[in-house]
């Protein structure tokens, strides 16, 4: 074969239409992203709420401390991430190492399908079925039996079950397909020979996974953690329905708090026409955006290939 073909010499160089026009549409995602940030900055009118903005009291129309919501977002997303990673790891290991191909061929897509269920459907199921179940069965049982552990005692849980436990449960279900997908991907990318080398040395499958596959795929697993967290952190509607969103810290495990996304969603209606309230909400949106983007960038950096996933929010 000849050397790499080059551009035909008769073509004019310089800024011809053919060379400029294609670039323009490529800038669209950046334009949208920049547009979002700019618009939020405009609507916030760059109001300086002072240090109180990072305080703990959110009491429109007078006080604008968003610390409660930041804490609430982390309080709901981190436990959900923990559970989603644990279960996702287990499922991914089972799928790649232990289960035969004829099972995983349909079971894996089934778990991936979980990701496609709209969050409002999760929300209505959570609000009407799971929350009462938590409220009547699980929370009282926890309260009665392990109430001596600090955090599990104190104020009696609500009968309708709305609160952190069911919120974390729903978020786990929503982050689970993502963590499973990414960890499975990471484990599958382990080269066959490394795997077989481990087994050949006399390690059991479990030991191979533990000592060979997981360290090899650790970047992918870490990215699963970040991206799963990003999903749980930005979840809006399901949390708004299932967590009794209040602007206060929960006193114990069964209590409620507010997340940034849910509070933004629920109170925009009330803030119509009140510029200060809208400004506070816009600035909260900027904080949410910043954290989500940071988590996303870090998570993606860890996966150094062009990957796209047919999963919302990924």
């Amino acid at each position: 074969m000849n050397a790499t073909p080059t551009a035909p010499r008769h073509r004019a160089y310089g800024a011809t239409i053919g060379r400029i026009v294609p670039f323009v549409p490529a800038l669209i995602p950046m334009a949208i992203l920049v547009g979002i940030v700019v618009e939020l900055l405009i609507s916030s009118k760059l109001t300086n709420f002072g240090w109180g903005f990072w305080g703990s009291i959110w009491d429109p129309p007078s006080q604008w401390g968003i610390a409660v919501f930041i804490a609430g977002s982390f309080l709901t997303a981190l436990p959900a991430l923990f559970f989603a990673m644990a279960i996702g790891l287990g499922i991914a290991i089972a799928s790649t190492t232990y289960l035969p191909g004829w099972i995983t061929r349909w079971l894996d897509p089934f778990v991936d399908l979980l990701a496609g269920i709209p969050s409002i459907v999760y929300g209505i199921w959570g609000y009407l079925l799971v929350a009462p179940f938590f409220g009547s069965v699980i929370n009282p049982a926890l309260y009665a039996h392990i109430g001596f552990i600090p955090g599990f005692g104190g104020l009696a849980p609500r009968a309708d079950g709305l609160g952190l436990p069911v919120g974390v449960f729903i978020l786990t279900l929503m982050a689970l397909p993502i963590t499973t997908l990414l960890i499975r991907d990471a484990l599958r990318s382990v080269p066959r020979d490394l795997w077989e080398a481990g087994l050949g040395l006399g390690a059991t499958r479990w030991e191979t996974v533990r000592h060979v596959a997981i360290p090899y795929g650790s970047r992918g697993i870490l990215s699963a953690a970040f991206l799963g967290f990003g999903r749980a952190f930005g979840e809006t509607v399901a949390i708004a329905m299932v967590l009794n969103v209040v602007a206060s810290y929960p006193t114990n495990v069964y209590g409620s708090t507010g997340t940034m996304a849910a509070e933004m969603f629920l109170s925009l209606d009330s803030a119509f026409g009140n510029t200060q309230w809208l400004a506070a909400l816009s600035e909260m949106a900027l904080v949410l955006l910043a954290i989500s983007l940071a988590v996303n960038i870090i998570g993606r950096r860890l996966v150094a290939r062009i990957v796209t996933y047919e999963v919302p929010g990924l």
């Binding site: 549409p25 709209p118 279900l173 479990w206 509607v237 909400l281 949410l288 996303n296």
Partner: protein, 304 residues
């Protein structure tokens, strides 16, 4: 490892093959046990989903008649006809706009951008995908409803949703064109094709299934979104909407009615909308996977 058989110093094959030391038996037993326990974790994922589907179906189906889907009577409390039609209208408009923005962008990134710039653009697209939908809803509200003055309307909702779906289409078209096999690309350019000829005549037939896939995927994701729509539209009972009229979206119907007291017709309406939504989304997702599988075969065929 003191009590185990030392595999480096074993003297007979028999010693190795019939290693009955406690440690080895424990390791093998543990492995076997884990092999049973871990698959059970699948149930943690599967059982809630089955429960969810069963619950929604059991609440929606008893009052489900054909008229629920077709009745467009604006004042019938148990009619999904109007939300279905307006949802379809919104999705159509939104996906058209999203394809317009995303397809050109994705192809341009795959074909014409130098690698460094492409890296930045792809990162921007990924960041957009990771943006919480409520932030996009805020953007839509502030820009379209207030600043542009479109009000809580069909067009505000559609355009916001289009912006939401654009990065998915962008990524998929980028990926589709990037993964066209190199020999085909070289052959095309080697035969003297100009870039647009390559894109239209050579690349498009190959990339089309994957892009179509992406369109269905974006539809599946977009139809299940609540926040961008609820923040930019308000309830309406009529169809067809004009450009500025309010519209009802399926997820909006669920959102409005889910807190109604048990037994009221509004609550069953919410369930019926939820069931319909789930069916549509799952169908689209299955369609996406089927097309993926067929496309895979086709590409391999090209390579023979």
């Amino acid at each position: 490892m003191a009590s185990a058989v030392n595999h480096l110093r074993a003297e007979t094959a028999e010693e190795l093959l019939f290693d009955r030391s406690f440690r080895t038996r424990w390791r093998l037993g543990f492995d076997k046990a884990i092999g049973w326990v871990l698959p059970l974790l699948f149930l943690v994922a599967i059982i809630p989903i089955l429960d969810l589907v069963y619950y929604i179906a059991s609440q929606a189906l008893p009052t489900f008649t054909w008229t629920v889907l077709t009745s467009t009577n604006p004042y019938d409390p148990d009619a999904l006809g109007v939300p279905i039609e307006t949802t379809a209208a919104i999705m159509l408009f939104a996906i058209a706009l999203a394809v317009l923005l995303g397809l050109f962008g994705g192809v341009a990134t795959a074909e014409f951008l130098p690698e460094r710039a492409a890296g930045w653009v792809r990162m921007a697209a990924n960041m957009l995908v990771g943006t919480p939908s409520v932030v996009l809803g805020y953007f839509g509200y502030f820009l379209f409803v207030i600043t542009f003055g479109w009000g809580l309307s069909f067009i505000a909702g559609s355009v916001t949703l289009a912006f939401f779906m654009t990065p998915y289409i962008f990524r998929i078209s980028d990926l589709a064109y990037s993964s066209i096999p190199r020999p085909i690309r070289e052959a095309a350019y080697g035969s003297g094709a100009r870039p647009y000829q390559y894109v239209l005549r050579v690349g498009a037939p190959i990339a089309f299934p994957q892009i179509l896939n992406g369109v269905f995927l974006a539809l599946a994701i977009g139809v299940g979104e609540t926040a961008p729509i609820v923040l930019t539209t308000t309830q309406s009972v009529i169809f067809p909407p004009t450009i500025y009229s309010p519209v009802t979206f399926l997820t909006g119907t669920i959102w409005e009615n889910f807190s109604q007291p048990a037994g009221s017709p509004s609550l069953s309406l919410a369930f019926q909308a939820a069931l319909l939504l789930m069916v549509v989304v799952v169908a689209l997702n299955i369609l996406v996977r089927v097309i993926s599988a067929r496309y895979q075969k086709r590409l391999e065929g090209l390579y023979q």
